[in-house]
Symmetry: C2
Subunit: 187 residues, 2 copies
């Protein structure tokens, strides 16, 4: 039941449609949670039935109608309670790490290619997060924004996302370096 709260948290910034939410959760910018469109449409309906969000239909011309959702007071209370509850630590589940774990028993050329791909992907996310952060803080300096900005939650999660992807990139590059050097010295 954590997607529930992720959706509520995402809707705090203003009304969003399922489609808009899906973009935020899916395409790269999932800086605090990841979910697929289908999950979100389903979850939004469940949330509405539970009275934690309200949706209003917006009739459009030239494109399908949409429903914009907003968090209710009940929804906010739910989030409040959630924030106080203790959380189980988030565990790692990453294909690439499994592959590296097996690196000594497996052909490394393909693995190195995967690591390079991941490093590139991580760099793309780093760039994206950088832009996002600049947008969020506007003309303020980071220190100033963190003290006086009116909405720092998304900024802070974005900072974590940035550091995470920097960690990924650096580790991938280092791992590639280690594996190639070993390849060379084995011949």
């Amino acid at each position: 039941m954590a997607l529930r709260h992720a959706v509520l948290a995402a809707l705090l910034d203003g009304e969003l449609s399922g489609y808009q939410l899906a973009k935020a959760f899916d395409v790269g910018v999932a800086n605090f949670w990841y979910a697929q469109p289908q999950q979100l449409y389903a979850e939004l309906n469940r949330l509405e039935q539970a009275g934690l969000v309200v949706g209003r239909e917006v009739v459009q011309e030239g494109r399908p109608n949409k429903r914009l959702f907003q968090v209710t007071d009940t929804g906010l209370a739910e989030l409040e309670e959630f924030a106080g509850a203790s959380d189980k630590p988030a565990f790692v589940r990453d294909d690439l790490l499994v592959k590296v774990q097996a690196a000594d028993h497996v052909d490394t050329t393909a693995l190195i290619a995967r690591l390079r791909e991941r490093a590139t992907f991580a760099q793309a996310k780093i760039d994206l997060f950088g832009k996002l952060l600049r947008n969020l803080r506007g003309d303020k300096s980071e220190a100033d924004f963190l003290l006086h900005g009116e909405r720092v939650g998304p900024y802070l999660t974005c900072l974590r996302g940035l550091a995470f992807e920097e960690g990924n990139r650096d580790w991938c590059e280092r791992t590639v370096a280690v594996l190639t050097r070993r390849e060379r010295s084995r011949r």
Copy 2:
């Protein structure tokens, strides 16, 4: 079907029982994957039926018998194929990030407590990973081990785990600092 490969990768270091595997996957040291005991027992049976591992019963006195599992050649081939396949990037799903995302709309004292807990937990893992790395490299220096050690896979994944937890700790501490400073300036 990725747990399958995680189990195979974990068994590369030698025969393990379901129970031992479960400890490795569960208690903190899951440096490349996380899974619960029940999943592992089920997966081991599936792997055995598929011929990717073989189990042998070890009769014990004074405690229940156990079954030790080993990767077969077929299992190794499966891992080889897996290593070459492209992987979807691992996405973030973390309760704590959701809570921080909502930080501006929620009571922060409870949230700060959660962040402190997480920082402590991360530090414990950092210490653990540090010890693990020292054990793995023995008397060699890190650079030397990475070039000439005979099994670097687990070392490399452990390095990622270490960096990840350092990132967690630092971010938690910084976030606590930001939120407390804001609390103070609001009064």
